[in-house]
Symmetry: C2
Subunit: 479 residues, 2 copies
């Protein structure tokens, strides 16, 4: 498709400048869901998104803020066509914490724009990706000359994704009737690279817990007591060292029970991706060596294999100098990424049993699980909706080659697919260079604009398929 | 000895009330040497001690505050007798940090007095023990009717002991000529129990370091990168788990090379101590089980065996909720207690080599050692000064039985013994109930007063021995 025959692109260009200022104002709201001190900001973020959805024309917009959940936004724009394809778009407006502020080149909540790159927490994950739908639907209308979208459009944008979506299942259940779906479009993932569009066909699941070991009731002098009393930090490191074996395979009994191993074809497809491992390690990963489970490639390790990560650890004296104590307590935050087949409840049980079996005498173990976890998702790569998404991305990136990838991250996509009984496709333009979850999160504006354009193309593609064409294929499956 | 024939006791009683107020004012000064923010308080503490030494009659008192060391106090009171025994008293006026303030029943620097117990950081370690010399020398003078002590008395009270005495060797070298010693009296240790006086015949040495593992240059999204990049916290717990083997013996090659194992007689003496392990574990240790190196008793584990302790650990996200990152850095503070025969420099080398051998790919290891470490000390139990100390304590506690113990803690005693070429004896009255280094540090006033009395008895006993009597025995040995 040439630029001349691509009215969606022209429409995106027309609206880009005004749209960018809307996104920047949104990024300026520090909607950190993990921190109770930012509850009001999460609410403000939801209100702002609702306003902007109304402004672009959504006739029905609501902030869902009852119950214990942080506010979500639900918007609906009926097509008006009989039997229009019903689309539910999912994403989130909460963001990761921005601690380590001294390591940000630009303040995380000022939405600084430098050389066409927007800097700030949420610029990419996930405000940038959700904002694509504001301009995307406008471009779709302008390009098609319609006053309402060619598909029946519903947006559900939650406020707790970065906290593990603890109330999302409840939210879906409560609003089930307002979420009619022939296809779910998830806009919270990425593409292989800025010049290499791809669609995601798998997401990892997640369970998260905090481990607490209580030792002596007071900090003890390590001279007077050292050697004869259990040190909870020493015990904790011994237990956590037992999460992996020497091959960096997870050593929790039962952990791999239900893993669906990739087929030889899937492994070959992954190998075919234009992946420069050395560049990835020193570039986006900012590391020095590829390190992971023996027998698997780097791309497989981040997509097709489950993980156990220690996200934080603390205990005892951490101030200046030396304090010769046996501390009272030691803590760690753990997350486990799951792949197709694995069930969060089974993994929780396995980890709980394993850690309990490793706890020695003289300490008390307490494991608290963060919500019920997130199931992994595998997409049927042959579904017509997947093909439509590849065509939409191809049009926006001027290429006929849109690859298939697996996403290492986790979201409530399996929950959505299961609840709404609809196939899932992924449309997002994050890349590894965007430093999501890290200091210096960013998003190149040109890439976001290609995403806006892809959204407009996708509504056209899905409308062209129609409901009948959509149901001809398979379905995304959770689990 | 009965109370009637114990004029030292009467003298201590006479001065007790005024003396206690002096000690309380001293405890109110937060002389935390580990924290640069308390430098001025350490200086204030030295000045206060100098004033009080002058007030009790020391004719020569100086605050040593040149160079990088925190201020120490040097005081001298010549006997005036020809060939008087020359005594150097050692202790420290700096204190441990008092963090965890919410776990203190009484504020750490208010010197609260409740039911005859003085509460506060330093009440026992070591201001309480050093203050005994203020009233002790007064009681000695009053009991003997002298205007100057019967021994040539020098006090050296440093300000960096709780930080590993980094400049103490230099201090001793610089003031060597002002520290003439036939015997060194260390007042920084304890007795077996409030009703069980004992003298210490061994102290453990110490080396301390901070371990830093640097991983990726930014915190990474554990979904996007997890499984393929080295997580410094995961690497650190694996390395630190390698400090001990399954028998909780230290697994650092070479660590036990020079350990002088206790003789069968020493093991039998230790077994003979009236030690209620169950009471000790649930009481002063505030723990639930005796845990330590296989094959050794609890008392041996804290006195005769070396240890490796993790005093603190930190890295990654430690705030509320979950943050799914691979952190950039992980840190731990380690201390190693050494016993007779072990050399700090050799232990540093062994630990450094062992940790380096355990560091995996993808992380950078940096180990910073806190000063050169502290050598362990073994006392010759047959020395006349040791016998004199046992008699002095026996007189103060009205008992003929003063046991021999080993102290698990560390101080620069080996350094003093080596530099001053004099035997060391220990006179202090801390007990495990005093919670030194922990929240709720305390000292029972009655016990401190018995310590004051023991000081007065000891000056009489040492003067009676005379220089000739002192040199008849062996010497305390460092190493």
């Amino acid at each position: 498709m040439t630029a001349a025959s691509n009215p969606e692109r022209q429409a995106v260009r027309d609206g880009a400048q005004q749209w960018l200022e809307v996104l920047r104002d949104w990024v300026r709201i520090p909607s950190v869901s993990a921190d109770p001190g930012h509850r009001a900001d999460v609410a403000r973020s939801a209100g702002y998104l609702a306003e902007q959805l109304s402004a672009v024309g959504f006739p029905q917009v609501r902030v869902l803020d009852s119950g214990p959940a942080l506010p979500a936004v639900l918007a609906h724009w009926p097509s008006g066509e009989p039997d229009a394809v019903r689309v539910v778009v999912y994403g989130h407006h909460d963001v990761q914490p921005a601690d380590g502020e001294d390591r940000w080149s630009h303040p995380p909540f000022e939405a600084t724009l430098v050389d066409g790159v927007l800097h700030g927490r949420g610029a990419s994950d996930d405000k940038g990706n959700i904002a694509m739908h504001l301009l995307g639907v406008r471009a779709h209308l302008q390009a098609t000359g319609r006053s309402a979208p060619a598909v029946d459009l519903t947006l559900l944008v939650e406020g707790e994704e970065e906290s593990g979506s603890p109330h999302f299942a409840e939210l879906l259940a409560r609003h089930r009737d307002e979420l009619p779906a022939d296809v779910v479009v998830v806009s919270d993932t990425g593409i292989f690279g800025p010049d290499t569009p791809s669609v995601c066909v798998g997401m990892r699941g997640l369970v998260a817990c905090e481990v607490h070991l209580h030792g002596p009731d007071v900090d003890l002098h390590s001279g007077t007591f050292g050697g004869a009393v259990a040190n909870p930090v020493t015990e904790l490191v011994r237990m956590l060292a037992g999460l992996h074996d020497a091959d960096r395979r997870i050593a929790v009994p039962g952990f791999y029970d239900d893993v669906v191993e990739p087929t030889p074809q899937e492994r070959a497809d992954t190998d075919a991706l234009p992946f420069d491992e050395a560049e990835w390690i020193t570039g986006p990963a900012g590391s020095r060596a590829a390190v992971g489970e023996a027998g698997w490639s780097t791309l497989e390790r981040v997509g097709a294999r489950p993980t156990a990560e220690i996200n934080g650890i603390w205990g005892g004296y951490t101030g200046p100098g030396t304090k010769t104590i046996i501390p009272t307590d030691a803590y760690a935050k753990l997350t486990f990424r799951l792949v197709g087949g694995q069930r969060p409840d089974h993994i929780r049980e396995c980890v709980q049993r394993h850690l309990q079996s490793l706890a020695g005498p003289g300490v008390t173990l307490d494991i608290s699980w963060e919500s019920e976890g997130v199931a992994p998702l595998k997409v049927d790569t042959t579904h017509p909706a997947t093909a439509a998404t590849r065509r939409a991305l191809g049009a926006a990136f001027d290429t006929g080659t849109v690859l298939l990838t697996r996403e290492g991250g986790s979201g409530p996509e399996a929950e959505i697919a299961g609840r709404l009984q609809a196939p899932v496709v992924f449309l997002g333009v994050m890349t590894d260079e965007d430093r999501i979850h890290a200091p210096d999160e960013r998003a190149p504006v040109e890439l976001l604009l290609k995403g806006c354009e892809a959204v407009a193309h996708l509504w056209r593609e899905l409308a062209a398929l129609g409901r009948a064409g959509l149901t001809a294929g398979g379905a995304a499956v959770a689990g």
